[in-house]
Symmetry: C2
Subunit: 316 residues, 2 copies
Amino acid sequence: MPEMNIGLDMMGGDFAPLEAVKGIQMYLSEQNDSPANLFLIGDEEKINQLLIDHKVDSTHLTVVHAPQEIDMHESPIKALKEKPQSSISIGFQYLAAGKTDAFISAGNTGAMLVGSMFSLKVIEGVLRPTIATVLPKENGGTGLLVDVGINVDCKPENLNQFAIMGSIYAQWMFGVNTPRVGLINVGEEEGKGNMIAQAAYPLLKENKQINFVGNIEGRDLLFDKADVMVCDGFTGNIILKMAESLFELAQLKKIEHSHFDLFNFEIYGGTPVLGVSKPVMIGHGISHALAFKNMIIAAKKMADTNLLAKMQQAFT
Amino acid sequence: MPEMNIGLDMMGGDFAPLEAVKGIQMYLSEQNDSPANLFLIGDEEKINQLLIDHKVDSTHLTVVHAPQEIDMHESPIKALKEKPQSSISIGFQYLAAGKTDAFISAGNTGAMLVGSMFSLKVIEGVLRPTIATVLPKENGGTGLLVDVGINVDCKPENLNQFAIMGSIYAQWMFGVNTPRVGLINVGEEEGKGNMIAQAAYPLLKENKQINFVGNIEGRDLLFDKADVMVCDGFTGNIILKMAESLFELAQLKKIEHSHFDLFNFEIYGGTPVLGVSKPVMIGHGISHALAFKNMIIAAKKMADTNLLAKMQQAFT
């Protein structure tokens, strides 16, 4: 396996840079074989101090100073334009230039998306890049939910493409052969649904690149009905946040059960951006060390498996 | 309180008429003061035998023979037309004629909706009748989710009307004063969302008939953020079925916790049809005795509180 270089925005998220540093330490201490080389992008002084304080082995680390910061509520396009020295801007510059092989941030989601689409290339043939996330299944497996929020109004062909991108992700990242694709809908039969779901069904059914298993309903989402669950980003965002809330609900109700631990979304790291030319992971604003560690692992796997080349092939 | 007459389709649902009879028995045995008079519509012979077998007190019961049955998968319009002697058809005839004050069925949902709209009147001013259901909140309270499946493609004004009907239901059925209405969306701020949510927001904000509290997200649905949660029927159906599946998930995982018992939707009975001139409750196909009992209680309360007259006033 060739060495991988991963850029990490150290300033993104509510608990950065501290939790990012702790996540890096966690990552490095758990890697037996060659870890990725990590490029820590942000306030050099703060980062170096934290690395010393936490006695992090610096063998695989390079600190890249970024004098500017994009905060969580800034307008993405404006912020990226006006802050070329921000950690997010520099992260994308490094990725676009090939100095890194993947980029991770728990910062401003909008800026991460805009950066993904404009600093990197959208894969030719992809109408709309998308973001996906993992839902834990009843049997302990993982399903991929796509889109989870950037494409709130979709055309049927968008859903069809989400199915292709999601299938490739599930195959290479989760090791699922011929992943089952389900269309999220209000009933099982063909012909059910709102206009977009009705129109998407025949496209999915005729798509030879995927293993379409038909409609899946709300009751199937947390069960083992499909490996890739396709919907517009409005529906997907609500499903995702409702699923996330189950972890909080279980904690508040003091329900201790290993299955509910699977609703701790930090174990999946973050959300990959699919449909752009290089690996990008976006973390939740409230990411802690565990999420940072798992984003590094996921980003490295996206790079190691050459996932984006496989996506590109699928659209040629 | 005047006497109430409630029609009950004894043939609807997977476990009818047995579970309907058991539900009636449960209802009658728990009522200290005057129970409703129940009109048991269906196969007379079967019903009478079950009433004897289960030693049900027949003081408040009238069996109405219906020689035909509409099964779960029949085309609603065709079935209602071709089977005027079915339990659903007779149920609506009784309700429309004033022989009963409410009608309940766990049978063919489509036939119940078509019957509601064509045998009864749609309230003047209501663009689209809707169906609503209860979601249990983290604090033990109840939120009303509306629409949960009949209006999968909505216009903004439909959502605005769901908010009005939902507010009246929450006020009179749950005793919530000035119920908080939330618009289900992908973010908290005004301007977020898909086209329909974006367009619905200002309508809800300017609507003096409701207490609009803004957008609510997926993570808020099972928490105490709003008393009435408004969305299109596509989104609502997926939310409802995902919430219902939590009860099954908890059972499979042997998680015994009283809060998860609240996801047993039989405790809410069924789904009221809102926007038509008389009380109609639709039950889940897998309704057991508990669901039938609670549908009778809810239907009686809709009649007792004169809920539909209040809805009519709201739209004049």
